[in-house]
């Protein structure tokens, strides 16, 4: 493979990491509080607001059931409003964030719901406020699950990021389609797939390692 092509792969890898990294960060910034709220706002819960919970649940489900490629196209006006353009890696971060936030929210909700309800009662019994319960009990206790959820979200985002090539977003997926498929360069396609596999493995291993380190539920000696 020529140095030019290798250079292309390196550049596309960085584009993918840029899109996925920023989208994961923004998606978490929205998805984490949203997920915590979803997990604590049903009737009788810490921040009980059943109607808001319902409405947010419907919005989250609607976003999650829209195929990503359709979401990308459908929100082009919004993307232009936020990013100033609808083309390029930076613009692609907008749909990636919008797709990942509800996904992360559902994963966070599941992880928070795994925390033993008795612990909420315990903290309440010694006078903890709802916010203290979230920050001192729910999030620390759910941390291993939250780290695994975030890992899953990043892996999914890598998959999604391959689709934003359709709107000129760049990245590895774009490279694979344009060079590997449209220009009949199977070695390029193979290279892209190999890099993606390596990235997913790396992210998953790192996530597993961190989740294991913070998990105190099992005997760890």
């Amino acid at each position: 493979m020529s140095p030019e092509l290798i250079n292309l792969i390196v550049q596309a890898t960085f584009e993918s990491l840029y899109m996925v990294g920023i989208a994961a960060l923004l998606g978490t910034a929205v998805g984490l509080p949203l997920g915590v709220f979803l997990a604590t706002s049903r009737k009788g819960e810490l921040f009980a607001a059943p109607i808001v919970n319902r409405v947010l649940g419907i919005v989250v489900n609607a976003t999650r059931s829209t195929p990503f490629i359709i979401l990308v196209v459908a929100i082009i006006p919004f993307t232009r409003l936020v990013a100033g353009t609808s083309i390029g890696s930076t613009a692609a971060i907008v749909p990636l964030t919008i797709a990942s936030a509800p996904f992360i929210a559902r994963l966070v909700e599941a992880a928070i719901r795994e925390v033993d309800g008795g612990l909420i009662e315990t903290a309440s019994s010694f006078g903890a406020s709802p916010l203290q319960i979230v920050f001192k009990v729910l999030i620390p206790e759910a941390l291993p699950g939250l780290l695994l959820a975030l890992t899953l979200a990043v892996v999914s985002l890598l998959g999604y990021s391959a689709m934003v090539g359709a709107v000129g977003g760049g990245g590895l997926g774009d490279l694979g389609i344009r060079y590997g498929y449209q220009r009949f360069m199977p070695e390029m396609m193979l290279a892209v797939v190999v890099v993606l596999i390596a990235l997913v493995q790396l992210v998953q291993s790192a996530g597993d390692y961190l989740a294991r380190r913070v998990n105190r539920r099992l005997r760890h000696r």
């Binding site: 612990l119 009662e121 019994s125 010694f126 006078g127 206790e141 913070v214 005997r219």
Partner: protein, 377 residues
């Protein structure tokens, strides 16, 4: 003027019934006044009335057991004390304050003076023993240095100073409950609520934990409320007892009084757990309805009160001139009083109804409830 201001200490409260003279105002640490608790119907499930007409007081500095079967309303009752639940009607006065009228920040401040320990310990798996104990102090806004000193003191108090940096997953059940107790005591509460705190522990560990609670009550003067379904817990630790059944208080008072003269069937069934109400199988299978020559009449009697049964058999033999034999006996001590049952064999030289009648009359005269069960060969 709201409801709790009108209830200053020292003022009489309607429908308040002390369970003992010591529970008179202002000695009561916790007082239930006209409490009922109903859970409303929800998602097609009918509403549940958990507690009705609850009026009693828990004396300051006492160890009071609240005993009842599953579903009797024990958990609702204890959650009313620390304000985790609100009564449907009535007031819960804790240390002179109507906790049922508090909400938000006021309630959270009041909750710091009420500690609670749980059946499944409810420790945070992500925190070490020391950090678990520190949690209520962090919530109360203590400084790091104060927390550190207090945690060290508490770990020593509950006898696990060496487990400072251990995570709950590395501790035994008994050690976890010691952490739970230290955590509950961290903010120096005046009341400690124990919700089935020994139900998940083996008998030996249970004994050690109950001893620790007794020490804490003695040395710190903390009022302890023990929610339990186990008679053995009440017997070992409590001075006062409240018997709950189907949301009602069926009996309450000093443990010794309640269990030496149990009135309600539920109380009797709890007592039976300690002293046993069934005969040994080998004896029960031999009892027949008709007497036979050279056999014995079988009489069971209840004993209660200090020293009650000590000389009974000897006196029976001496005063009635009968070679009474002891077929089975179970005597235990509750609240310093003996309670139990004896099964006696009365010899029948010839089929002799008279010996049985005379024995029953003697027992009745000395106020031992007795029954004639039948005969053995």
């Amino acid at each position: 003027m709201n409801a709790h201001q009108s209830l200053a200490i020292g003022q009489p409260i309607e429908r308040f019934e002390a369970i003992s003279p010591a529970a008179d105002e202002p000695e009561a640490m916790v007082r239930f006044a006209g409490i009922s608790k109903t859970y409303p119907a929800y998602r097609g499930k009918p509403g549940v009335s958990a507690l009705q007409n609850i009026d009693f007081a828990i004396p300051r500095g006492s160890i009071t057991g609240v005993i009842g079967r599953s579903g009797a309303g024990k958990s609702s009752l204890v959650r009313l004390i620390n304000g985790l639940e609100k009564p449907t009607t009535g007031r819960v006065i804790v240390d002179g304050r109507d906790i049922s009228a508090l909400a938000g920040r006021e309630l959270r401040l009041a909750q710091r003076s009420i500690g609670m320990i749980f059946q499944h310990f409810n420790l945070l798996s992500s925190r070490t023993a020391a950090d678990n104990i520190a949690l209520p102090l962090e919530i109360a806004g203590w400084t790091t240095a104060d927390i550190k000193a207090r945690v060290t003191e508490l770990l020593a108090l509950v006898g696990i100073a060496d487990k400072h940096d251990r995570y709950p997953s590395e501790l035994s059940g008994g050690q976890k409950q010691r952490v739970g107790i230290a955590r509950a005591l961290a903010t120096r509460p005046s009341v400690l609520l124990s919700d089935e705190a020994t139900s998940a522990l083996d008998p030996q560990t249970t004994r050690a934990i109950l001893d620790l609670l007794a020490n804490i009550n003695r040395e710190l003067g903390v009022t302890i409320v023990l929610i339990t379904h186990e008679m053995s817990v009440v017997r070992q630790l409590a001075r006062d007892v409240v018997v709950l059944d189907a949301g009602h208080v069926v009996e309450s008072g000093h443990v010794a009084d309640i269990f030496t003269h149990p009135k309600h069937p539920i109380t009797q069934s709890f007592l039976a757990e300690v002293i046993g109400d069934s005969l040994p199988v080998s004896l029960a299978s031999r009892i027949v309805a008709a007497p036979s020559a050279g056999g014995q009449a079988v009489i069971r009697l209840q004993v209660h009160g200090a020293g009650a049964g000590d000389t009974l058999v000897a006196r029976l033999a001496r005063e009635l001139g009968l070679d009474v034999s002891l077929l089975s006996a179970r005597i235990d001590e509750i609240g310093g009083q003996q309670v139990g049952s004896l099964v006696l064999g009365i010899p029948l030289g010839i089929p002799d109804e008279d010996a049985v009648t005379r024995t029953l009359a003697f027992l009745s005269q000395h106020q031992f409830p007795a029954e004639h069960l039948g005969y053995v060969a």
